[in-house]
């Protein structure tokens, strides 16, 4: 079947850059882009993928200030109480970090499939599967040494999430079922199955409210000061994923499929297998974040609300990070800090916590609309690649 999403398949050549036999080869690096400036400006232009988000955040805070002022609150005071809590107190810092962990991991769970051209709306269900598998495994081996239980729970979480995501991957690869539908459906199915489990086989009878058995005390993660153990794990994984995508043959295969799947299959890359694998890796990360929530966060049980809206937050994070693995770290830091500080904000000023959503939305808007980059860098604006173009495949 012709696939006009790629270049027209009529086999005609596309326009290329000038390259004549006589003239010296002209510069064709960026088709038609002006020569990159040098010096400080050059540095700024080259680093615009960092500068633009920073400016966007500042601009978003400024717009948010108007909203806050409209509530009759001094915006400076509001921001000060928010951030001085999130960053300036041990409690707040720990809260920020704790929130970062699942955000990074779920962000990665969206980033990786995006590279392959898949849109994973299912991090939510994958996280839940991971968490419940961790809970089940931890309970099964509850007599083991704490350290071992924690490892087993994490592995179980990874497997649980990976398995859940691979269902969507396999349906895509073998039956062509659009991953957006399958992951939405799988989210609901996970919710139902887990609801059964925590009301039935995995229910802790000492609890009136349906919840799993708690993680054995020895296996619970105790923070190192204000740094939760999940944080280094998440950071390391973000770096690993970045390394994997950039430097390994696996990453190359993912990337190739995402950019031109016809060329990928021509080059001998097995599309189906890679699609399942990418989803599995993504699901594994989401699942791991589920098991970390289980091991690290009070009440150390699987209970409703353990997943919150983390799976969907993962999408926000991935987009804020412009679908780069390392970008999820600052994105998660921002979101984590805003979320952690929102109750202090409410306590001190009465501003509703929804303000955080508004700030995020504005930030995302400003990061993604090429406006800021255009304003600052004019014609040196770097092109960002479209995520949405994978939709139709």
């Amino acid at each position: 079947m012709a696939d006009p999403r790629d270049e027209p398949s009529d086999g005609r050549p596309a326009t290329g850059a000038v390259a004549t036999e006589t003239a010296p080869p002209p510069v064709v690096a960026e088709r038609g882009a002006p020569p990159p400036p040098t010096g400080v400006l050059g540095l700024l232009v080259r680093e615009q993928s960092i500068i633009v988000p920073i400016v966007a955040v500042i601009a978003a805070l400024a717009i948010g200030a108007v909203l806050i002022r409209a509530q009759g609150v001094n915006p400076m005071y509001a921001y000060q109480s928010l951030f001085s809590y999130s960053f300036g107190t041990a409690d707040g810092l720990r809260g920020t970090f704790e929130k970062m962990v699942p955000l990074i991991l779920c962000g990665l769970a969206v980033v990786i499939p995006l590279r392959v051209g898949l849109f994973n709306i299912g991090a939510q269900g994958q996280l839940m599967s991971g968490a419940i598998c961790a809970a089940a495994a931890a309970h099964a081996v509850r007599e083991a040494p704490g350290f071992l239980i924690a490892i087993i729970a994490m592995v179980a979480g990874i497997l649980g999430g990976a398995m859940w995501a691979s269902i969507a991957g396999a349906l895509k690869a073998t039956r062509g079922v659009h991953e957006v539908i399958s992951t939405i459906m799988l989210n609901s199915i996970a919710a139902g199955l887990i609801d059964y489990l925590v009301n039935g086989p995995l229910k802790d009878p000492t609890q009136s409210y349906p919840s799993s058995y708690p993680a054995p005390e020895a296996a619970q993660f105790q923070p190192l000061g204000f740094v939760p153990i999940g944080l280094p794990i998440a950071l390391v994984l973000a770096i690993l994923v970045a390394w994997m995508l950039r430097r390994t043959t696996l990453g190359f295969q993912f990337e190739t499929i995402g950019r031109n799947r016809h060329a990928a299959s021509y080059a001998g890359i097995k599309l189906g297998g890679m699609i399942v694998l990418a989803m599995a890796v993504a699901g594994g990360l989401a699942g791991l974040s589920g098991s970390i929530e289980y091991l690290e966060i009070d009440p150390y049980r699987y209970q409703d609300g353990i997943a919150g809206s983390l799976g969907f937050d993962g999408i926000t994070i991935a987009l804020l990070a412009r679908s780069t693995p390392l970008g999820t770290i600052p994105a998660a830091l921002l979101v984590g800090a805003l979320r952690a500080g929102s109750s202090t904000l409410m306590f001190n000023t009465g501003i509703q916590p929804e303000i955080v959503d508004m700030l995020l939305a504005i930030t995302l808007l400003l990061v993604s609309l090429p406006i800021i980059a255009k304003l600052i860098f004019r014609r040196h604006t770097a092109k960002s690649s479209a995520l949405a173009s994978s939709w139709g495949s």
Partner: protein
Amino acid sequence: GGTSGPATGSGGGTNTAASGDCSSAEVFCVGLVTDVGKVDDKGFNQAAWEGVEQVKGELGAQTKYVETTDPKDYAKNIKQFTDAKYDVIVTVGFLMADATRAAGKQYPNTKFIGFDQFQADPVVPNVTGLIFHEDQAGYAAGFLAGSMTKSNKIGVVLGQEIPPTQAYAAGYENGAKAANPAVSVSKVYHPAGNTAFNDPVWGAGEAKKMLAQGADFIFGAGGGTGNGALQETAKTSGAGDKVFCIGVDLDQWDTLPAAHPCLITSAEKHEKDGIGELLKQIKGNTVKPGNFFGTAGISPFHDFDSKVPADVKTKVADVVKKLEDGSLATGYKP
């Protein structure tokens, strides 16, 4: 609108003009942490906050609330108030039980009211659980429905299947059967998920279906989801004449005006009164640790007073009384 009404939106947490220093002995400060949700949720968060506001004047209290957006923040949100040296902290919802007990142990000089939190032994001396028997409220409502149904079919639309909804449902069913053994009760739970208690459209759809299949009493017990069922019932033809609905948790006559056409009563836990009573006890230093059992029953009939036959009224009142004194069991086993 209801009584004092929750903070009208933006103003948010603070509801006192003068904010004195809570650490001083003269200033009596009451803080409230909601379960995930807001103080205008027409449900238990709202009931709890209204309970606080109701006695605020009487006790000369300074009050404030923080709304929880993520269950993982319970402890953190409680800490906002302990850090500010509040005298009493009300935490809403069974999910906060663990966090409340932990905070209680950590801050022995602060009093805690754990709304809907059963305190198992060993009790924490400064934590009092405010407990209601949903099954009793459900039983009374079911008894009323069972006594009045003409079609012998009644229905209940619930949120997610968790102990309180189970208790309501079981009480409702048993109460109805006790009044009228021929009655058949259809009940439906919302599928699990984030929206189980906040899906009015689903609730409305289920109510519509039950009504079409002949039910003439719809009990909506599941937050926003249940409210949808009530609203749908209020819209059907014959609402208030042949078809009735029953609210839940608090007197929904006050919180859900849209249901007035059919809202004959609500299966009410007297939450506001319970909170008020406990706050007064704390102020008067008569509070006891452990569990404080609030009363549950049904709300006034309001406009429907004339539509409820006198004999039914007496029977229902009798049932409520017997439930209260323990001489009548609802048959619900948690």
